[in-house]
Each structure stands twice: as structure tokens, then as C-alpha cells.
Symmetry: C2
Subunit: 208 residues, 2 copies
DNA sequence: ATATAATGTGACCATATAGTCATATGACTA
DNA sequence: TAGTCATATGACTATATGGTCACATTATAT
């Protein structure tokens, strides 16, 4: 966590530091991000930076676990609502939509998340979400169980495997739509999501 | 491509350099790999390294595009055979099996591939497979088209999207089985693959 | 006005890197 | 034996990094 001095800063200065940090962490992976560059762009002295943060990891953690998470929460309200009542596939759809909307509205924050999930340094990974983030498959495992209980889903499916597949897609599909396909239009995105859900609902085999 | 001097080396020395490079690139991502460490471990002088390779990228490219690809080819023969005759799902199964067997037999090479696919430096990505690797979704797009033509697959599916999903799973599923689930047993792996194919064949919706 | 505490600062440190180059070694040729 | 060429070498360069620290500045309290 940043030190008190950081939170004692004027909102403008604090925001400037956060913004410049977001810029850099969105552009580069953790190792390539330069603190020197951040302090230059934020127009503070190197020494000041270390008065606000313990070290580089402290800043990174703060972005990942506070700045980003706080933004993401807003996008999940719709999903949380649906979760109670709607069918499994409606809930899953809401989840995908939330993820894609977040990425559309906050491309830089989405980049940072993407960099983190793609990071292959196990030490860093551990140090960042040591305890703080539950196994990310857990959410979908829960949804699948609920879906089976409700009778929405085939009870014979391999839950852990299905959760893994759907989770990794939740993470990558937003990137794919926006960065690869460069789809901007909301309608088009909806069609893509529907097509994807259809694959998981009914499979791709020909029933002839 | 490495320089002639590299190929003029004795097989032992050449192999020693390759092995130590594989060690390092399996452990660390491109940026974190240190040439100094490789030359130390391979017991050659730093200057010698630069007589064999243009630069760091040259070595990396060589591992990725020659050493690894040449190994991978062996695992795809079975798949190539099946491709001609069998049904779409049989071919897909062969593809997944090939990927997983490669990862089981060559864990370090699989790590290197994994690091590369997860690398987020677009410049590096471009410089490495500039032209040399076709869009990796293309293989599965082709298979899907063939599958539809044969009548194996529902002709209404979104081919590009399906190809993306199946491709990204080909890449990540081997890692998941081996590193996350720590499944070693061949039978168990087969069951997992079958379960996965079933999801894509018939979907996960309850038909009641 | 004085003393104390909180912040700000940038030169500096230790460290590491990719890559170079003048020189040494050894092999092959005439 | 002398000369030529490919190869081997490691000290060295230029550069960059995260992090520190002695000191300067400002704000607060007495």
C-alpha cells in the first residue's frame, strides 16, 4: 500500500502520478516500466516517489488491486443483479458484456490487466495477489454449479474444465474483439457474444 | 539466422550453447534472459557469442523458429494423417493430443513457446514472426471449413470466432493440464480431452 | 520568532545489461 | 618458416535501472 504521504497529496498531484503510472504500465510490461520515466512525466523528483511508495511493486499493486478493481466493480453491478434470477447463459452473457464494456471504456486499465495475466514471472504473480485474489476460476465454478442445480446445464459436464475454458475466454475475448477484430459497434459485439454463447449452449456439431 | 561460424562449431559445443539458451529462455521471458548468463553456463566468451549470432534476437528467433519448430513437426505427423480422412472432431482431438504430448516430452521448449505467446511486446512479436508464421488461427479456420463441407459441423457457426476459441485453447490447454492440474497419466489426459471435445460437440446446455 | 516535524529533491550508488573491439590463438597453405 | 585466415577472448563502453540519502524547503505549532 502507498504511504500516508501519498494520500496526503493534493488530489491533482496524486491523480497526475496515477495517470502517468497508468500510461506506462499500459504501454509496457512490469519489468520494462521505468520509475524514472514515470517521475519525469509526473514532474516529481525520484526521491519524492519513494516517499509515496515503498517501491515499484507497491505502485503496481496499488494500480492492480485498488485503482483497477474499484473501476471494475461498477461494471459488475448489472451482472450481480442477473446472477440471482436469470438462467446460466443470461448470467454468463452479463459477465462477458461487463468485461467488454470495461475494456472499451478503460482501454489502458484493460491493457494493464492483460499484461498482468500474461506475465510469466511466477514470483511477481505470487507477490501481487498473495491471498488477495481468489483462484479466478472459482466464480465460474460457482455459476456452473448453480446452473446445474437450476437444471440449466447438463449435470454430466466436467465443472473444473468448463470453468477453466469459460474463464480464460472471459479474459481473452474482450481483447480479441477490440484489438484483433477492431469491432466498435455495440450491436456487432452483441452478435459476437451471442454466437459465442451459442457455441457453448448447443455445440458446433451438425445435427442432421 | 546464426552466422556460419555457429554451424562450423563442433556438434557438442553447438548443442551446449543451444541447451544453455533453452534453459534460460524457459526460465525467463525474453527481456530477462541474460546473454552474459548464457555464455557463462555454456563456457564460451561473450565475444564468441557475437561471432555466432547477430544479437540476442537472432538466438531467440533461432530457438523459436528452428529448434522448436523442428521438434514440433514430429508430433504433428499423426495429426496430418488423420486430417485427410477422419471427422472434424477426430482431427481436432489429434491436434490437441499432439500439443499435449509435445509439452509433456519437451517441457522447456513448451515453456519458451508459452513465454512467447504471452509476450506483450508487439515489436518483438512482429520482428520474430514477420511473415514466417501464418496467422495461427488459419489452421483451425481451414479445418472448420472442411468440417462444414463434410457435414460434420453446423454450417451456421461463426467460423472466425470458433477458430479463435479453439486455437487459444490449443495453446493454453496443454499448460493447464500439466502445470495446473498436474495430470501425468495418459488415460486421465485422454478423458480430459474427450470431455473438452464433448463441450464443443454438444454444448453444455441441459436437454431435458 | 523559534523549534519541530513533514515533504521535497536530485546527485549518487551499486548493479546489470547488450554489444564491441583490439588482440591472441591456432589452423591451414605455400 | 612465414604468411594468411577464421575463430576465440574478456576487458571495456555506453546506457539504464531501482533505490538511497544528506540536505533543502515548507508547513505547523508554540
Amino acid at each position: 500500500m502507498p504511504k500516508d504521504t501519498f494520500f496526503n497529496l493534493s488530489i491533482e498531484k496524486r491523480q497526475r502520478i496515477i495517470d502517468m503510472a497508468i500510461d506506462e504500465f499500459a504501454k509496457y510490461s512490469y519489468d520494462k516500466v521505468s520509475i524514472s520515466k514515470i517521475v519525469d512525466k509526473a514532474e516529481i523528483a525520484k526521491g519524492s516517489f519513494y516517499q509515496y511508495f515503498e517501491d515499484k511493486k507497491d505502485l503496481y499493486k496499488y494500480l492492480l488491486l485498488n485503482v483497477i478493481v474499484e473501476k471494475k466493480v461498477n461494471y459488475l453491478s448489472h451482472f450481480t443483479l442477473k446472477m440471482q434470477e436469470e438462467s446460466f447463459f443470461e448470467v454468463l452473457k452479463a459477465l462477458y458484456i461487463a468485461g467488454i464494456n470495461f475494456a472499451k471504456d478503460n482501454p489502458k486499465l484493460a491493457e494493464i490487466s492483460d499484461h498482468f495475466t500474461k506475465n510469466t514471472d511466477d514470483n511477481l504473480k505470487k507477490e501481487i495477489y498473495d491471498g488477495s485474489i481468489p483462484k479466478s476460476n472459482a466464480l465460474l465454478e460457482g455459476l456452473l454449479l448453480k446452473g446445474i442445480a437450476k437444471g440449466d446445464l447438463n449435470p454430466d459436464i466436467d465443472i473444473k474444465l468448463t470453468a477453466y475454458i469459460l474463464t480464460s475466454l472471459t479474459i481473452s475475448i474482450g481483447e480479441y474483439f477490440i484489438k484483433e477484430l477492431k469491432v466498435e459497434d455495440d450491436m456487432e459485439i452483441m452478435t459476437l457474444i451471442d454466437n459465442m454463447l451459442l457455441i457453448f449452449e448447443k455445440g458446433i456439431k451438425n445435427k442432421g
